[in-house]
């Protein structure tokens, strides 16, 4: 693991009392390996290592009394800045908060819609939740969300046809006569490279003033995570990322990659299959699993 590798390199540095460029190169190599192993995107790793190297070769480490400690601090500080600022969750101070979920096939959107509804119901004491079934493609997608809505005590809205945009617009019109605190729009899974399907969510976003647009992303995504996040962000303007299946053992480097490249904050994480397996995102756990 990086911590062990980093530790042994750091110890060498401490041992001699002096730190050389060669020591630093060795440590950077270990960091690079660990991050690539953790599925951090190639270019993001390159940027990260360059940032650490620049600081490490500066006065602070080379002339430090304890260069090993100084180096470790630089690595952790840099990772913290890549992973982003304090998590502000969702602003639910309005009368009704509209949240749209988008993402690749199978990432966990439908399940997350129910989780989000339950979370806001319990955490923010907002009793009136509406889940909108706007996945008009996947067999039994509407049934799936309908069942989940029943399980968390939320209302469910859909229509029996294939026009997702129309369903969303009509759900939005419903708000003129029926009061809801939270409305979550579940959409069909789609590839970031499927222009027609990307167009569909662009149209929905243009037609309805969403307060939040979350990319629901599998925490196990590989190198393509950056392309996925960038494309969805450019299409609909993401306000947050939800990482799912954190209860697995993937190192989660995709999360760092997506956040770093788009600047979109990671808001929540799914930690299991049940509706209550949902938490506010914590960067420190991700940082230690990426550094190994």
């Amino acid at each position: 693991t990086i911590s062990k590798k980093l530790d042994s390199v750091i110890r060498k540095i401490r041992g001699t009392g002096i730190i050389s460029e060669a020591n630093i190169e060795e440590a950077l190599k270990a960091i690079r390996m660990s991050m690539l192993e953790a599925d951090v995107n190639y270019k993001v790793v390159k940027d990260f290592v360059a940032a650490v190297k620049e600081k490490a070769l500066g006065e602070s480490v080379l002339n430090a009394v304890s260069p090993g400690q100084q180096f470790t601090k630089i690595v952790h500080d840099e990772l913290a800045s890549f992973l982003g600022e304090k998590n502000t969750g969702i602003d639910t101070s309005r009368t009704t908060t509209l949240i749209m979920l988008v993402g690749l096939q199978g990432s966990g959107k439908t399940t997350t819609a129910a989780k989000l509804g339950l979370y806001l119901k319990n955490e923010k004491k907002l009793p009136r939740i509406l889940l909108v079934g706007a996945d008009t493609y996947r067999p039994a997608a509407k049934e799936q969300l309908k069942k989940l809505a029943g399980m968390i005590g939320a209302d469910f809205y859909t229509e029996e046809h294939n026009d997702a945009v129309k369903i969303c617009k009509n759900a939005y019109s419903l708000l003129e006569t029926k009061l809801y605190d939270i409305v979550v729009f579940d959409t069909a899974g789609r590839l970031h490279i499927d222009e027609e399907m990307i167009k569909e969510i662009e149209v929905i976003k243009k037609a309805i003033p969403m307060n939040e647009v979350f990319l629901v992303a599998d925490s196990m995504l590989g190198q393509e995570s950056v392309n996925v996040a960038k494309t969805f962000n450019e299409a609909v303007g993401l306000t947050g990322i939800v990482l799912t299946k954190i209860d697995g053992d993937a190192r989660g480097g995709a999360a760092l990659s997506m956040k770093y490249v788009t600047g979109v904050p990671i808001k929540f994480m799914g930690t299991g299959e049940k509706a209550d397996r949902f938490e506010l995102f914590h960067p420190d756990r991700l940082a230690s699993s990426i550094l190994g």
């Binding site: 096939q105 309908k146 970031h192 590989g222």
Partner: protein
């Protein structure tokens, strides 16, 4: 376009980057880069031809296709959302196209509307779907399905199971039990156990294959979502380290978006 002198290092780094970006295991990337250097590859075009050859060899499945007499059972396992239920329907369509009598078992008794999802496919294809009680024992559904399949002279029974993470030992025990139930009713040679791996996933794809294999002896991999921009490079590590070949590849959400895996076709896609 030629790797000349001082440019050679930059070109090698370029190639290394594209291999890493294809989600290929890092040790395999290193050994491949060493091979490129050792073979004195002089251009990107030469490298592409060489890489295709190297990886096609790594991926080709030399195992003999066995002749199945009587009922053939395919069990689909894998993590949540990988594409198992959809793959079940595609395999059903694939075997219908080969004039086989097909049946499906909806052994995901846990997830909301999982049975309805498979039943919709069954209705569309005209394939019987055996189901059980919601939250019932999936092994019981499988037992029923095998009995029904035998009774109705079914050629191929496809068992769809619930998604599960390999980190959950109780869920892994569940599929071990399902396999035991099946092996009480048919010969081991009549069963294939495929893990469904999503091409968008990174290094964890190999971990999944390793863990599922240790739990229940897999016989192959189905790589899904190859229509994405991801290259699915984890299948190389899965084949070279675990000996598990990819049997099918899916590249879309329609019933016809499935093909028997071809190593040559795959590397052509990967390096073009």
């Amino acid at each position: 376009d030629l790797f000349t002198g001082k440019d050679a290092a930059a070109c090698i780094e370029d190639i290394e980057q594209s291999l890493i970006e294809a989600d290929i295991d890092l040790a395999i990337v290193d050994e491949t880069v060493e091979l490129i250097k050792k073979n004195r590859i002089k251009s990107y075009e030469e490298a592409r031809v060489f890489l295709k050859k190297v990886f096609a060899e790594k991926l080709s499945d030399s195992s003999v296709k066995r002749e199945i007499k009587g009922l053939y059972i395919i069990v689909l396992v894998g993590i949540n959302g990988a594409g198992k239920t959809t793959a079940a329907s595609k395999l059903a369509s694939y075997y219908l196209g080969r004039n086989k009598k097909v049946m499906m078992a909806a052994a995901d008794t846990f997830r909301a509307a999982a049975t309805e999802q498979l039943e919709t496919w069954g209705n569309r294809l005209g394939v019987a779907v055996i189901k059980g009680q919601e939250n019932g024992d999936p092994a019981a559904v499988v037992y029923d399905a095998v009995a029904q399949a035998k009774k109705s002279q079914t050629d191929v029974l496809i068992v769809d199971t619930a998604g599960r993470l390999h980190t959950k030992s109780n869920l892994m025990q569940e599929i071990v039990k399902i396999k035991k139930v099946i092996l009480k009713e048919v010969e081991e040679e009549s069963v294939d156990t495929f893990i469904i791996i999503d091409a968008n996933i990174g290094k964890n794809g190999y971990v999944q294959a390793k863990e599922f294999n240790e739990a229940m002896n897999l016989t192959g991999v189905i790589l899904t979502k190859f229509d994405s921009s991801a290259k699915g490079g984890s299948i190389i590590h899965i084949k070279s380290d675990l000996g598990l070949p990819v049997k099918f590849i899916t590249f879309g959400e329609s019933t016809g978006d499935i093909e028997e895996f071809s190593a040559q076709h795959f590397v052509d896609e990967m390096f073009d």
